[in-house]
Structures are given as structure tokens and as C-alpha cells.
């Protein structure tokens, strides 16, 4: 009832309130004034400015590999008018995808320090969201109207593809990213570097089917779009006449032991369990299975691409060696060291101090998106407008890279599944090693069949070297 330290706390309130009011006024002024200025390199986007600062410090200390290969004029700072690129990314407690955009910014900073794109620096404007649809729609408008971005690259988001599709279509924007929502793979205006939950689950089920199990049990997190994802594995299992049980689990999982037990019971001793979860949830289920000694109670375990981390392999231990088979959409940076992988690592080291997770799938995808977009921008003749830039993005084809199984292509298709050939990894004493080389996802999945008939080519495979 009586107060404690009232004066101290009051003063703090005053300061806090003054800050709040000032901030509100600033936001109003800032947004109205910045519509007229392009704000080159200014703090329009904080993460961009944060990494710009870090790149300045790291400029002199070169890593083992030369990063100057990212640009066309080594060591020459780009000074032209900036090309503004935008992105929207999920960042909320428990789901933080900021490593993706941070790696793209690192790549752009590398390019900007080495000649830029035809002399122009590239800037990434990042908008974060907390999976609130209104916020995501507003962020898209902010990027276009306030930040004047000419292209959308690097959307790492749970919902963005669903919400902004109509807006992008209306503006003629062709976005590139690494998404989750079904619309990232099923509309003309979006192409992803990742395989996404459906096709990655396809890959994991496809590998399981090669081992001739009596049954497949496919389980995924109970989030919107489960029916779309589950349709792929079902089509694959049906094509081989293997019975499949499809389950969903509420996340976060509160009783992993029960879940693991239930999966094993449903699969039976000759069955194959395939998980499609985020890394923490998948790890929780697999660890529970290990604790209860269930890993040998089924014929084998599969997992979609999020499981493909050494972290998971080392957390699980030797009992899972060649027992768990993970679909991998990206080449592992640990056992591959070709020139491109070296460049990726060097850029990450020199410019990527903001990439909290370091080496890994998020920064690999960020690297790919940075590279694809810069390659496309270099081909633009004349001014960088929304029209010219998006035409260039759409024309991306035959982007050969060590980091994924097949050349990446955007193209003018009604749907885009450019990453549809993958390999399979398995834990081996704390590391993920390759169990099966690049294999195209079966066209038994009707979406894959539709894409291949539209894109017109069987996937040409460039197996990862090293």
C-alpha cells in the first residue's frame, strides 16, 4: 500500500514517457519526410545499418579466403546511387529468422566494398514481423512507399507469401525468399531457394520408401497448412502402395515422451516414422525416443530438412547412426569446401558478425539469395526501376551453385519449385554425413509433376563436390 522509492520510479516514468512521446512524434515526421528522400545508406533499416558498421571494421582484416571475388572491382567502394531491396522476416520470441536477412546484408556489403553492382551499392531494407497479418501487409507497403525498394529479396517468413501475394502481383514484383507458407511455391510471383515443408517431407518419405517399410507414419506440427503439406507424402506413399498414417502434434510439445511412444506404436516394428518439425521440436521428439530406447523399435526414422544440423547429430549421439535419415536441401558447409563454399564462409566471417547462428542453412540460403539477386542486377541495362529489376529477377536461370543440388531458375511459370532435387544425410558420430546423393523428388507428387511440365526440363543434377 505504501510506496517504495517513489521518487526514483517517478523520475523514470517521466523519462520513459518523454521518450515515448518523442518517439511517436519522430515516427510521424520521419515517415512523412522520408517519402521524398531515398536515404542512401541511412538508418532506414536498423539491421542494414548495424551490419554496415561492422563491415567497416572488418574491411582491413581479410580472412583466409579473399572475399573480393564477390564483386567485379576488388577493393573499389561502390559510390553510385543505391539500389534499394526490401525484405520481410519473422522475428518473434521462439521464431527468429533474422540470420537470413543478416547474411544477405553481409553479401551486399561485400559486393558494395568491391565495386558494387555496375558501380551502385545495394541496400537491404529489413522489416520484421511477429506473425500478425496486418503488420506484414503494412510492412510491404512501408518497403514500397517509404523505402522505395525496387525488388523483394530474402523473405524468411512464416506467413508473408500468403498475405502479400496479391500486392506483389498488382505491382509486378517477383519475390525471392525462403518461405514456409504454401503460396511461396504455388504462385507466379514467388520463388524460393529452400524446398519448403511439403517437398522436403516428400524427400524424407521418398528415402524411407526405398527401404521398403511396411508402413509410413508422417507427423508434423499442427499449424495452418498441414493438409497442403501432407498431400505430398501421401501421394508418394500411395504411388508405391505403402499405407501411410498422417498425424499432427500441437506445438510446443509438452510431453515428447508420449509423442515418441505413440509414433513408434503406430508405425510398428517394420514401419518408418517421418517428422516434419522445427529443429527444437524434432530434437525433443528424437531425444525422447532415445531416452525410452525406441530408436530400434521401428525400421527407420526420417526427418525433413530442419533436422539437417550437426547440432542435432551431436545432441543425439551414436545410437542414431544410420538410423535417422534427413532430407537435406543444402550442401553441408562442414564436408564441402569448393571455391564457392569458401567464398560463403569468408563473407560470413568478414561481414557477417550480425549472423548469430554462423554457418548453417539460414546463412547459406541468405548467401544464395544475395548471390542470385546481385547476378541478376548486374544484367540490368539502364536505370534500376521496379520493372527492370523484377524482369531481371524473373530471367534468372541456370544459376549453378555448390550449395544446392541443381541449377536455380526463376522463369515465367504459374508455380515455382526450383529446388526439387535433394540428398539425404544421416548422423554419424556427431556429424551429418551424406547417405544418398542428389535425387530428384518424385513426380508422384502432383505439384512436382505440374512444375516439371511447366518448367519443361527434367532436373539436371550437379552433384555437390568435395
Amino acid at each position: 500500500m505504501r510506496l517504495i522509492y517513489p521518487h526514483v520510479l517517478r523520475l523514470r516514468t517521466v523519462i520513459a514517457l518523454a521518450a515515448v512521446i518523442g518517439a511517436a512524434l519522430l515516427a510521424g515526421c520521419g515517415s512523412s519526410s522520408s517519402t521524398t528522400s531515398a536515404a542512401p545508406g541511412s538508418g532506414g533499416s536498423s539491421s542494414a545499418s548495424a551490419t554496415t558498421a561492422s563491415s567497416g571494421g572488418g574491411g582491413s582484416s581479410g580472412g583466409s579466403t579473399d572475399t573480393s571475388k564477390c564483386g567485379t572491382k576488388p577493393g573499389v567502394k561502390a559510390t553510385g546511387t543505391p539500389i534499394n531491396i526490401g525484405t520481410i522476416d519473422t522475428k518473434q520470441p521462439g521464431t527468429d529468422f533474422s540470420d537470413g536477412p543478416n547474411m544477405i546484408t553481409a553479401y551486399y556489403n561485400c559486393v558494395n566494398a568491391n565495386g558494387g553492382v555496375n558501380g551502385h551499392p545495394v541496400h537491404l531494407f529489413v522489416q520484421y514481423d511477429q506473425t500478425q497479418p496486418a503488420q506484414i501487409a503494412a510492412a510491404a507497403k512501408q518497403l514500397i512507399q517509404t523505402d522505395h525498394v525496387v525488388g523483394i529479396v530474402g523473405v524468411f517468413d512464416l506467413l508473408e507469401c500468403t498475405i502479400d501475394q496479391g500486392y506483389w502481383k498488382q505491382l509486378g514484383i517477383y519475390e525471392m525468399g525462403a518461405g514456409i507458407a504454401p503460396e511461396c511455391w504455388s504462385t507466379p510471383n514467388s520463388a524460393a531457394v529452400n524446398m519448403g515443408p511439403r517437398y522436403s517431407s516428400d524427400g524424407a518419405v521418398q528415402y524411407g520408401l526405398t527401404q521398403h517399410p511396411a508402413k509410413i507414419v508422417f507427423v508434423q506440427s499442427n499449424v495452418p497448412g498441414t493438409g497442403y503439406i501432407a498431400a505430398g507424402p501421401k501421394a508418394l506413399a500411395d504411388a508405391q502402395h505403402v499405407p501411410i498414417t498422417e498425424l499432427t502434434e500441437n506445438v510446443p510439445i509438452n510431453d515428447a515422451n508420449s509423442v515418441a511412444l505413440d509414433l513408434v506404436n503406430k508405425a510398428g516394428s517394420n514401419g518408418w516414422v517421418v517428422l516434419n518439425f522445427t529443429p527444437p521440436e524434432a530434437l525433443v521428439i528424437l531425444q525422447a525416443a532415445q531416452k525410452l530406447g525406441l530408436e530400434d523399435r521401428v525400421k527407420g526414422w526420417g526427418c525433413s530438412t530442419p533436422c539437417n544440423t550437426d547440432f542435432l547429430a551431436s545432441s543425439l549421439g551414436a545410437r542414431w547412426n544410420h538410423k535417422l535419415f534427413v532430407n537435406a536441401e543444402l550442401t553441408s558447409p562442414d564436408d564441402h569446401n569448393g571455391p564457392e563454399m569458401q567464398l560463403y564462409k569468408a563473407i560470413l566471417k568478414q561481414y557477417g558478425s550480425a549472423v548469430a547462428g554462423g554457418l548453417g542453412s539460414f546463412s547459406e540460403m541468405g548467401y544464395l539469395l544475395g548471390k542470385f539477386s546481385v547476378d541478376a542486377l548486374e544484367k540490368v541495362k539502364g536505370p534500376y526501376t521496379m520493372q527492370s529489376v523484377n524482369a531481371a529477377f524473373k530471367n534468372i536461370k541456370d544459376e549453378k551453385t555448390e550449395l544446392i543440388c541443381q541449377p536455380w531458375v526463376y522463369g515465367n511459370y504459374p508455380l515455382h519449385i526450383p529446388n526439387n532435387s535433394d540428398f539425404t544425410t544421416t548422423p554419424d558420430n556427431g556429424k551429418m554425413v551424406t547417405a544418398q546423393g542428389c535425387t530428384p523428388i518424385s513426380a508422384a507428387d502432383p505439384q512436382i509433376a505440374q512444375y516439371r511440365s511447366a518448367a519443361g526440363s527434367a532436373p539436371s543434377t550437379n552433384p555437390p563436390t568435395g
Partner: protein
């Protein structure tokens, strides 16, 4: 919730800093209800409606839309907490329920948007009241806990049945759909600035609805219940009826806000609503000040505008969570009326401090707390 003895003097609707200061100076004496204040408020609202969409970018227009919508939610919760002394930890779930019902109606029927809002509000009112019914006879802490339980349960149910996305059947959810149609908006408010104005108008109507209740018999009954439930029972007030009434009113306006959420978000998703929302809602309501209607606006500002601002600046939303935590502790220990009451006093104190620093003699008068 027991606090200082004096009930809050009328709605010190201080919509700007300046008038807040003036209101604070008017402080202890009762203000005459002249026509000046409503006129000032109306003029201010007209300015908001006209100028916010033109001076702010669409990003911030959306933030202000969310402030308008969530001010209805915080108004409802503030009514329960401040006027009746019932703490609900389940308002986030009630809002999600309202959004679900409205979205279902918007997909299933061609009803005009205002009718859907009304129907959504009424259905949410019935559901929310059913939820509160058994809890009403319990003391404050038990009511808070049972609403927290129900919030958890509703979150689980919504996660399983999902939000309508144009599918068929009772749930209206099609798990396999690839091209989800957006939830429709009223024809007159299809664009974002128009929907902002629409939301503000609906919010004003809800504030007026609550105001009418507060000025009438329910308001007097609630004030009596908050002072002492036993005494009001002895004084012949049907406490259960009026507590239920408050619950129903709060659920109704929260349901309306849910309809606006559906129209504003256009795509609803179980990822969008979480159990933690209800706790954050209570935090901002306490910080804003549960005892005044202006507090509801401040609370919605803290919740939605600050979030948009921090995102724009690239500041982690975690700082906002921490701020809300500190705010709850500060409000409960030192400033039970929240920012609305606290800010004028603090500003006055700051003014005196500055004047003191400038060397002018001041009359240091400690405000009674």
C-alpha cells in the same frame, strides 16, 4: 482491486498532453460538465480521422488502426479491472473467439459488415458470458485463474479447428488450400486509410456505449461492488447480475473488436493469437490506467504503436516485453492509476524541477498519494 479510497473522478478524457496538464491542474475539484469538453474531444477526433492517414505512411496508418481496434479490447478489460475489480486473464482468447466468429460469418454469408460485427459481438458475448458464469461467484484471484485456464483451453481449441480460410463445414477451414482468399472488408472501407477511419468510428461508438453504461445504473452498481461487495449485497444490489453484466458488456465489445481484427488482418491464423497475449493485455491496461477511458487508448498505444515503432527501428520486440513487465510492477507498487493519472503529475513535477533548476522559487507541494 483495492486501491486508494477515492473513486476516479469522472472520465478525465485528456486526449493531448496539454489538456492532460490542464486536467491535472483542475485536479482535486470536480469539473463542471460543460459542453466545452465534448466539443474539444469531437474536434480532436475529427482531426485524427482527417489527418492521420495523410501525414503518416501506410505502415503507421496500419499501426494507428491497430491502436483504434485494440483500444476497444483494452476498454473492455479496463472496465472489468478498474470499474468492477475483476481481473480477467482471458481477454486475448475472447478476442480470438470474436475474430473467429466474424471471419466465419464473413466467409459464409453476404451480410453487410456492420451486421457481421454486431452478430460477432453478440455471439462472443454469449460465449464469453457462459465462460464467466461459473467464475462469477468466486473471489478475485479465482476468477483471474479460471479465466487464465479458459484462455489456455480456447487457444488449444482454436489451434485444432483453425481459423476460417474460405473452406466449408462448421469450421470453414480447408487445410489443403493453397490460395487463401482474404477476409472481406466493408465496401466503404476497402483501402487501409478508409479502414482506419472505419475502425475509429466503431471504436468511438464502443466508447460511447461504455460511457452510457457508466453514467447509468450499472455504473453506480459497479462502483458500489468495487468498494465492497458485501456492502452492496447488503444494500440490495444484485451483485451477480451486475458482475455478469460487466462481463457481457466487455465480451460484446471485445467481440466487435475481433470482427475489426478479422477485417484488418484479412488472413487469420492460429499463430497470430497466443496465451501470452492475454497477459500482455492486462499489463498494458494496468500501465495505461484501468480507471479511465483515456487509459484504454494509452494502453492500446503502448501495445500496438510501440510495437510498430520498434519493428521499424529494428529493435527487438523483447524490449517491449521487458518494458511491460517493469510497467506492471511499477504501476502496482507506486502508481495504481497508470500512466493517464501519473503522467500529468510527473510532468508537473518535471516542470517544477526545471523551474527549480532555473533558480526560480517554487512552491513545492507534494500531491497527496
Amino acid at each position: 482491486m483495492k486501491t486508494e479510497a477515492s473513486a476516479p473522478a469522472a472520465e478525465t478524457a485528456a486526449t493531448s498532453q496539454g489538456s492532460a496538464l490542464a486536467a491535472a491542474r483542475a485536479g482535486r475539484r470536480l469539473e463542471p460538465r460543460s459542453m466545452v469538453r465534448p466539443a474539444v474531444i469531437a474536434a480532436l477526433l475529427a482531426c485524427v480521422l482527417l489527418f492521420v492517414p495523410s501525414i503518416f505512411s501506410l505502415y503507421y496508418v496500419d499501426a494507428w488502426t491497430q491502436v483504434a481496434i485494440y483500444s476497444i479490447v483494452t476498454l473492455g478489460l479496463g472496465l472489468l479491472v478498474g470499474r468492477v475489480g475483476m481481473v480477467s486473464l482471458g481477454q486475448g482468447a475472447v478476442l480470438a473467439m470474436g475474430a473467429w466468429v466474424s471471419a466465419r460469418l464473413l466467409f459464409a454469408t453476404g451480410l453487410p459488415f456492420p451486421l457481421v460485427l454486431l452478430a460477432g459481438g453478440l455471439i462472443t458475448m454469449v460465449l464469453g458470458t457462459l465462460v464467466g458464469l461459473p467464475a462469477l461467484r468466486m473471489s478475485g484471484l479465482y476468477l483471474a485463474l479460471i479465466t487464465l485456464m479458459l484462455a489456455g483451453a480456447i487457444t488449444v481449441v482454436l489451434q485444432n479447428i483453425n481459423f476460417p480460410n474460405g473452406g466449408h463445414g462448421f469450421t470453414g477451414y480447408n487445410a489443403s488450400t493453397v490460395h487463401i482468399p482474404p477476409i472481406r472488408r466493408p465496401a466503404i472501407a476497402a483501402s487501409d486509410p478508409a479502414f482506419f477511419r472505419y475502425s475509429v468510428v466503431v471504436a468511438i461508438l464502443m466508447f460511447l456505449l461504455v460511457l452510457v453504461h457508466l453514467r447509468g445504473r450499472p455504473g453506480r452498481a459497479w462502483a458500489a461492488i468495487r468498494q465492497s461487495e458485501a456492502a452492496s449485497l447488503a444494500g440490495g444490489i444484485n451483485t451477480t447480475l451486475f458482475k455478469l453484466w460487466a462481463f457481457a458488456l466487455a465480451s460484446f465489445i471485445t467481440g466487435i473488436a475481433g470482427g475489426l481484427v478479422a477485417g484488418s488482418f484479412r488472413y487469420l491464423n492460429s499463430l497470430t493469437f497466443s496465451t501470452a497475449d492475454s497477459i500482455t493485455l492486462l499489463a498494458v491496461v494496468l500501465m495505461g490506467g484501468a480507471y479511465s477511458m483515456t487509459g484504454a487508448i494509452v494502453a492500446a498505444f503502448l501495445l500496438k504503436f510501440l510495437q510498430a515503432l520498434l519493428n521499424d527501428w529494428g529493435v527487438s520486440p523483447d524490449w517491449l516485453t521487458i518494458l511491460f513487465g517493469i510497467g506492471v510492477l511499477q504501476v502496482l507498487t507506486t502508481a495504481p492509476r497508470g500512466i493517464v493519472e501519473q503522467m500529468p503529475k510527473d510532468l508537473a513535477r518535471l516542470g517544477r524541477l526545471i523551474r527549480g533548476l532555473l533558480g526560480r522559487p517554487t512552491t513545492t507541494r507534494e500531491s497527496a498519494e
